[in-house]
Amino acid sequence: MRDYFYSLADDLAGRCTGPEVLLLGFSGEDSDFVRFNRSLVRQGGAVRQQYLSLELIDGDRHAKEIFTLCGEKTADLAKAEAVLASLREQLPATPADPFLLYAAEVHSTEQIGENCLAPTEDCLAAVLKAGEGKDLVGLFAQGGVYAGFANSLGQRNWFSSHSFHLEWCFFAKNAHNDKAVKTSYAGFEWSPEAFARKVADATEQLAILARPPKTIDPGAYRVYLAPTALAEFVGLLGWGGFSLKSHRTKTTPLLRMIESGATLHESVHLAENTREGLAPNFTSAGFIKPGRVELIRAGRYGECLISPRSAKEFNQPVNAGMEVPTSLDLAAGELSDEKILSTLSEGVYANQLWYLNYSDMPAGRITGMTRFGTFWVEGGKIVAPLNVMRFDETVYNALGTNLVALSHRRDFLPSSETYDQRSVHSSRMPGAVIRDFRFTL
């Protein structure tokens, strides 16, 4: 696929005339998806998609189109040439863009992932076997994901990754049938032993879910947010929290950090860690992302993510493509696994949070729900599953004044999202013990 993209890029770059500059982008995937319900298959299939984008630049005018490729060179080249001609025709009617910025220095890179995937048939059989006698629901996805950049200046960048992601729930057979253990198994090479361990762990947790659930009254409680739950909470901040544009237009949920001197706990160090993430290190304008951008240092706001457009508008250097994190990294704390329950003592142990949104964005206040694998803890022991609760709490309380401790162990959490295409986002998160976390419903 890389060679095909480069070949198209060579041909199309040669069609530029005079001062024209052409930027090309490629995105594609070749994926199998199998969806499960009640330990059987709901839907299974394959998706093959390839998109090429062309952005034609002439001085301070530019126009862009993205379109599907069939993979057959003559047909694709003819289509691309027609798009190029259409872009060229559009340019005179396109307004000049004062914030146009693209990489003028050539910096070619390649990140090529090896394909060690097991046949889908084998994985499907293993999942169905694991679900025998249980109520299993979830999605298995695997295959190749591809991205490329090229320009008429000679730059070439390629990214390919071959991964699988199984995300599933075992539902407990209790009175309400609404409690589940959710587990993810993701990687580049399926290991029957590793999968078996995940299944065994999840089966063990199912036993606790069979106990009668507890309902708590609204109020402030101690909570432990496991890494997957904390990833949801911190991940929401990615919605405008670290974008230079939202900082300069005062629409960031971290407005109080930049306007009123609000801070988080000094143990909070948050970064965009491209170097250790799963996403490509190049942007659609040809810039190479830095390995790491320090977003929050010791509880104080650090740097923003800066797209080429914002860089030009606000006169800052580029360090991102879109101004949303792709590889969030929250530093570990000192709380050992063995001390999590005793530190929590009495309260809510939440493995998953769900459907978070801002309830007062400028104040950094977030609402959301507890979901899978949430338990009530007493005397440092898990005693019962907890019925779902709504929380409504500010980031300044949860990760600031009320943060008790961050765990020493962190989990690496590849994103399971598949909107438009399989995501290559990921995060590294510890867990967090928080006091006086406000539940409202």
Binding site: N37, Q49, L69, E72, P95, L100, T249, W354, R371, Y419
Partner: protein, 478 residues
Amino acid sequence: MPDKLESMLRSAMPAVDFCSMRYLRSRDEILTVRRNVPEPVQRGDDAGVMVAIRHDGGLGYAATCDLTPSGLAQAVRQAGRFAALTAGKSVVDVSSLAMPAPQGEYVGPEEIPYASVSLGEKFDLLRKTSERLKIDERIVDWETSFWHTAVESLYVTSGGGRVRQQLSYFAPAMSATANRRAETQTRTLGSLRGQCKQGGMEVLQMCQFKRAGQQLAEEALALLQADDCPTGTMPLLLASDQMMLQIHESIGHPLELDRILGDERNYAGTSFVTPDMFGTYRYGSERLNVTFDPTRPEQFASYGWDDEGAAAKKEFIIQNGVLRRGLGSVTSQARLGLPGVACGRACNWNRPPIDRMANLNVEPGEATLAEMIAQVQHGVYMKTNKSWSIDDSRNKFQFGCEYAELIENGKLTKVVKNPNYRGLSATFWRSLRAVGRKETIGVFGTPYCGKGEPNQCIRVGHASPACLFENVDVFGGA
């Protein structure tokens, strides 16, 4: 759409129990002017085919953008491979499922074709509208935008079905953000592209696009000076651009039959509604009438047939407050043995159909807006969705709006900021006290309804009058 394509699809069709091929091509254009500066034009041309095969009790699909004969043949092989893999292991007994064999064409409205207006004219219009938003130094960010999508599709089946559809989607947007130190307030034209409709440039007239800017900017400034929304249990009047979200989250999603069947439990969630409730359950007060209606041409999610070939038809989902039928496709209806609607929909050529809302509407009542306000001694009137969150069984919700006004002694008295409310779907609709008449109806929708594994983001439409609820838990900002 070339005849050659149809012939290619027919030629590639294998000898199996059932096969469908759904071709879809979407051509997008997004134009934006932000802070009076035009942003680069974004265009897309996305085309592909979804092949679905049901054979020997198995069900498989394959999607491809390789529309050559060899590409289609490869997709057919892949779909056949998955049908074989899932035979005898499927949660759906597809062997006994009769799929529709629809025949026909549907062309949605486009009175003033989007393509009939030049790029320069569209940018001029956006720029002029943008300039009207900057009425004060405290307006720190402002934006106007068009998003148009022209979709053509062809659905053919091995049973002789053939449906061709052509739709024009138009989603304009406008926003003004005001700031003073640590206070920021934003007003939009019906939330996140909530004014989306099917049609051409006439959609701009429907949503008063050229005139809306000044008022939005003034309201954003007014919010900067406003007190927080009061806290307490009180009557709540919702404008139609918040009703759309209320319907969507707490009626639409819980009534999807695939949630009730458990398909979505790992991702989008389940439902507090159970199969035994259909026909008897009191979902809301007797004033509540909800219809599923993909036949209203101007609404965002209208069509002639769904993506499983079922013909679009208006159906009462809730009648006089009683739950009548769920939002389930041909497949889900057969699995549950319950009536449903034509709602087997896919977001694009690369995803299989699942149960989705299309247009889900609240039918009008008898009250004028003034009459509803006059009924309230102390309450709040909220407009335009800003925040949404609901639990995985679609029961415990909390929603926030951009703008609110206090109602005191039957009159709107002052603007209040950061309005939020929370409740339970299972009881909230029973507190419906008054439903606005036709004149209070707003037609809204969203291009961003997420669900499914693999994930799908789809268009939905919601038309609703303003509605008055009693005893709602209302509160303000931090």
